[in-house]
């Protein structure tokens, strides 16, 4: 029997039992579509988080005061001392490392901001000129904080879009003086909106020189120091340098924590990949269910078509031809179901992307392949039992039934 004839015959049988074929097709399609949509959702979430982190900056290291691990007892823990603060001098010292390209100290707080009669609370972020390139931010208007000595508390500020709109409205903001706490600052630039980025929204932000922020908050310690390594390969070296430099400055005490963006990203990546695998796996169960449905329906088909099977045997079909015919039927159904499911799934993830533009919900290629593969394998595998039953059918018994 030729392959083409096997397929033709199987397709003819499928057309002959339209309802049954459509139902199996539907089950397969739903299974495949579920895998595609759910994995695209998981993958979308992963990429969303990854984008958020890469928006932080490249080759970024974050220096925090205090040690995140408690390894052994140091005199400090015994005496209940708080860890030493990070200072501007610490930040300046870091610039010595040849593995470090940029250093931006960050001082953070909130304060009341006012212009004429309007006022609002705002997040005040004190930093240096390096902050802008380090975070890959851009200016919408004007210029960023001036470069120069970190101790120079210039009375200039850069504001976010929401701050500009709420304080100045239609009025031109550049060059105006606004009041932050007890101090007056001249607006020299407006930040380009970048949307939410790990807790800090550029729209609601006011940036001032770090020394000015220390004055306003009357606090010489830094919230953290952002460091950009020279390259990706330099990141471990930069991290070691940071630890060495700060330890030297803190009387041999290692009382800071250095987070690399990669480490954070890798953690999230693992979490979301696991999530994607999990939802993909759950969706694959529906494929297995579809496979069992195929088995059921094929068993019924074998019973329904005993006379036909007996006839084929009488006409000279050996058992393996019969087996082949039934497996081909299941394989055709699975393939058609997989194609329809693929289309439905792509449509579904397209709908997701349309509804949530921030979510890059593209099904990963491995999930699409796995969905199609699982559909084909379950379809064929679960049809083997009914097909074997058909192949072993006794032709005498099969033909004994009345049929036209």
């Amino acid at each position: 029997m030729k392959a083409r004839d096997v397929i033709d015959f199987a397709a003819g049988a499928l057309r002959g039992y339209r309802m049954r074929s459509l139902l199996m097709l539907l089950a397969m399609a739903i299974g495949v579509a579920a895998v595609v949509v759910l994995t695209s959702l998981g993958e979308g979430a992963r990429r969303y988080v990854a984008n958020q982190f890469s928006a932080l900056g490249t080759n970024l290291l974050i220096v925090l005061p205090g040690r995140s691990e408690t390894a052994g007892a140091s005199p400090a823990t015994l005496l209940g001392e708080t860890p030493r603060d990070l200072t501007l001098d610490d930040a300046r010292a870091l610039e010595r490392s040849r593995h470090i390209r940029r250093v931006a100290p960050v001082s953070l707080g909130t304060s009341v901001v006012s212009w004429r009669s309007r006022e609002r609370d705002s997040v005040i972020l004190g930093s240096s000129a390096e902050f802008l390139p380090l975070r890959h931010w851009n200016m919408a208007q004007g210029r960023f904080l001036p470069a120069g000595d970190l101790d120079n508390a210039e009375a200039v500020c850069v504001i976010g879009e929401n701050v500009r709109r709420e304080l100045f409205g239609m009025h031109r903001a550049l060059g105006e003086w606004l009041r932050i706490g007890e101090y007056r600052f001249r607006v020299i630039g407006i930040l380009e909106s970048k949307g939410q980025s790990i807790g800090v929204n550029t729209k609601n932000l006011i940036m001032i020189p770090v020394a000015s922020a220390q004055q306003i908050f009357n606090n010489p310690s830094l919230f953290r120091i952002l460091v950009e390594a020279r390259s990706r390969e330099a990141m471990p070296l930069a991290k070691r340098d940071i630890l060495d430099i700060i330890r030297d400055r803190h009387q041999g005490e290692e009382d800071i924590t250095v987070i690399t963006q990669d480490a954070v990203l890798a953690t999230f990546d693992r979490i979301f990949s696991a999530l994607t695998y999990t939802v993909g796996g759950i969706a694959a169960i529906s494929l297995a269910v579809a496979g069992i449905l195929i088995m059921n329906v094929m068993l019924v088909a074998v019973t329904q078509r005993t006379a036909e099977i007996g006839l084929l045997k009488a006409l000279g079909a050996p058992g393996r031809h019969i087996l082949l015919l039934f497996v081909a039927e299941a394989a055709l159904l699975s393939a058609a179901g997989a194609v329809i499911g693929m289309a439905l799934g792509q449509l579904g993830s397209y709908a997701l992307r349309t509804a949530f533009p921030e979510l890059p919900a593209w099904a990963p290629w491995w999930a699409s392949l796995a969905a199609i593969g699982t559909a084909m394998i379950t379809g064929v595998l679960f049809s083997l039992l009914p097909a074997r039953r058909a192949a072993r059918l006794d032709p005498v018994m099969a033909l004994a039934r009345r049929q036209t």
Partner: protein
């Protein structure tokens, strides 16, 4: 052409063994026209199934064209059924979703014959049986007599040596039944060996040789060459 030696076929019904065929010895020469008769349950259909390699004897030997079929595997038996044996059934057994020609093409599909050759031979065979105008009809658009003609066309399209008919007129009216018998006899005239199972005496009487079976044994054989 056919030789049965001490052939037995037992069925297990509950804890009882039923001898559907017991100790059958039979020789059929090529080109013979044989009618097998007997009361219901006498084993005549079982005999036909064994002859057609649809049923396996429980004992004894069945030589088809000199080959002992009891030692052949599924594949070889299927090939014999495909190329050397044709079946005509009481209930036609046409595939309802296929047209007359597609039904006739079935054995050729199984044999792996090219589509164009299949169509040519199927049309030719249907035409020989006076069915040229029904080639593209499905079974439910055909009368009983026409269905049986399609079934006969399917049985002979591979040009088998042996044609087995199990009550071929059992489901037909008098006229179509006579028609079908005439077709079968024509085929026999052209050299095919014809074995008809029937309980209709008028049909059996037309055969050149009659074998009467009772309780799984050959009771009478007009050919009389039993045990040869």
């Amino acid at each position: 052409m056919i030789e049965l030696r001490n052939l037995r076929r037992d069925f297990q019904v509950g804890d009882q063994t039923v001898h559907a065929l017991a100790d059958i010895n039979l020789r059929v020469a090529a080109g013979e026209y044989l009618a097998v008769t007997g009361p219901s349950g006498s084993g005549k259909s079982t005999l036909l199934n064994v002859l057609g390699l649809l049923d396996h004897p429980s004992g004894g030997h069945y030589l088809f064209e000199g080959r002992d079929t009891t030692t052949l595997d599924d594949q070889a038996q299927a090939e014999l059924r495909n190329r050397r044996i044709g079946f005509v059934f009481q209930f036609f057994h046409l595939v309802p979703r296929l047209t007359a020609r597609q039904n006739v093409e079935l054995p050729m599909i199984l044999a792996g014959i090219e589509p164009r050759e299949r169509a040519r031979r199927a049309s030719h065979t249907l035409a020989r049986l006076g069915m040229s105008d029904r080639v593209h009809h499905r079974p439910d658009q055909l009368s009983g007599g026409q269905r049986q003609r399609v079934a006969i066309a399917r049985a002979v399209v591979m040009q088998p040596a042996l044609l087995l008919a199990d009550e071929p007129t059992g489901n037909l009216d008098q006229a179509s039944g006579a028609d079908v018998i005439r077709i079968l006899e024509d085929l026999n005239q052209q050299g095919i060996t014809l074995v008809v199972v029937t309980h209709d005496q008028s049909i059996a009487s037309r055969a050149h040789r009659r074998v009467h079976i009772v309780d799984g044994r050959i009771d009478q054989d007009s050919g009389g060459n039993e045990g040869a």
